[in-house]
Amino acid sequence: MTSFSWAMMLVVTMHALLFHAMPRFSRPDILFAVTVPDAFVRGAGRALLSRYRLVVWCGAGAALVIALVLTAASFATERRAFVMMAVVAGNMIVSASAWLWAHRTARPHAVPDSDTRVASLVPRDTSLPGGVLFAGGPFALLLATAVLVSTQLDQVPTNSKPLGPFGALAMGAVYVAMMLTLAMSLARRTRQIAVDNPAAAAEQRFRRVNVLVLVLAGYGMAIMMSTVTLEAIPSFSGTLSPRLWIVMLPIMLFNFGVAFWMFRVGQGGHRSVASTAREVRGDATPDHAWKVAGLFYFNPNDPAIWVEKRVGLGYTLNIGNKGAWLLIGMMLLPMVAVRFFF
């Protein structure tokens, strides 16, 4: 067995595990991206879940068997790679189809949207974690690197790009600005679902951790771009890259920790409080606004730019909101920046 075959089989297994766990990512009264009554979750919904998982694992099992047979067969290497990738793609199609089928089966059992909406009158904290100074850290780092580079310009090899040796730093600044804008919009333009009990505090904590991840992503990028820039200077060359892991490892560990924590506390932190503390059913978004089996939220009448995902953990954009399209446009900025600065 080649390492490529092993990698493909690992992908199939991880993929099946992900699809197996996916229904658990939602709030407890949302099943396959549909807001359903408790009786459905405990009864027919459980049977639906079992059937869905059976299809997912049968698909993965079949893909693994085909992969093993192909490995044993005498195929040309290029052809084998192509067929292996086709097997992985086929497995993904089976799992996605199983989700779509389960979603459509659950739809007729959806609870009607509530006519009543409740909100707390207590202002909540919408600032960035750590405050403005912490959020501005990546810019300070990029600026300090730029100052350092400008003192050693005679050592820097010339290049034909418009910003010369500062291209990577400019690119980093664009990325950090994008991350901070996303973080601020997530902190301010997301609906609070739980109103004013421990569930609300858990939800607020969940949101702030998501915001912190975005801020830290800016730090990661600033460190990387500073390193790339300084490596071009002979006096720094070869000294920073080998030590990059000292700062990147904690950030990666933090991100893995956050992913694990999010899985444990569930969507919106609902598993960290007693079920009796939850008053609001679902996620305060209408079912009809969720498109493509609950993957996309499109509701022009909803002022929220971000809403909790129904497929997966965390938040997704309300693509019916103009503000969301501004953010999407802004996310393309780094790609444009790469074209100009590198």
């Binding site: 909406r117 009158l121 202002p123 301010r188 004013d196 002022p303």
Partner: protein, 131 residues
């Protein structure tokens, strides 16, 4: 247990959403659950949580500011004001409210309540009890 500081709206109600928000807020204000100096959520935040347009909440806040309950703050929502005496209210509006009260009293009489029961229920409501 103290009633939580909340505002609720019913989207199917014939009463406009901004009036429902203002009514809930006014109830918290007259019953002193919201005290002078307390900050209310920014307009955008409350609108987001209720899923209504920002102007709806802005209208409700403006209505209560005109009644002398709130001081509107740019970007920071609104603060509850000390209101020693009710601000002069349009007598026409008071007459309109009393007429509405008359209609409600007639409906209650028609439903079988006595004048004494209505008056005692009204007194309880005026003192802050939920109907």
């Amino acid at each position: 247990m103290a009633e939580p500081l909340r505002v609720a709206i019913n989207l199917n109600s014939p009463v406009p959403a901004y009036r429902q928000i203002a009514s809930d807020l006014r109830r918290h204000l007259v019953e002193a659950r919201l005290k002078p100096g307390d900050l209310l959520p920014p307009i955008r935040q409350l609108a987001l949580d209720l899923g209504v347009h920002f102007n709806t909440v802005a209208l409700a806040y403006r209505l209560l500011a005109d009644e002398g309950w709130l001081e509107l703050k740019r970007r920071r929502g609104a603060a509850v004001m000390a209101r020693h005496a009710p601000r002069a209210v349009d007598q026409g509006h008071v007459d309109h409210l009393l007429r509405q009260l008359g209609h409600i009293a007639a409906e209650l009489r028609s439903a079988g309540m006595t004048a004494r029961q209505i008056s005692s229920a009204l007194r309880r409501i005026a003192q802050g009890a939920r109907p």
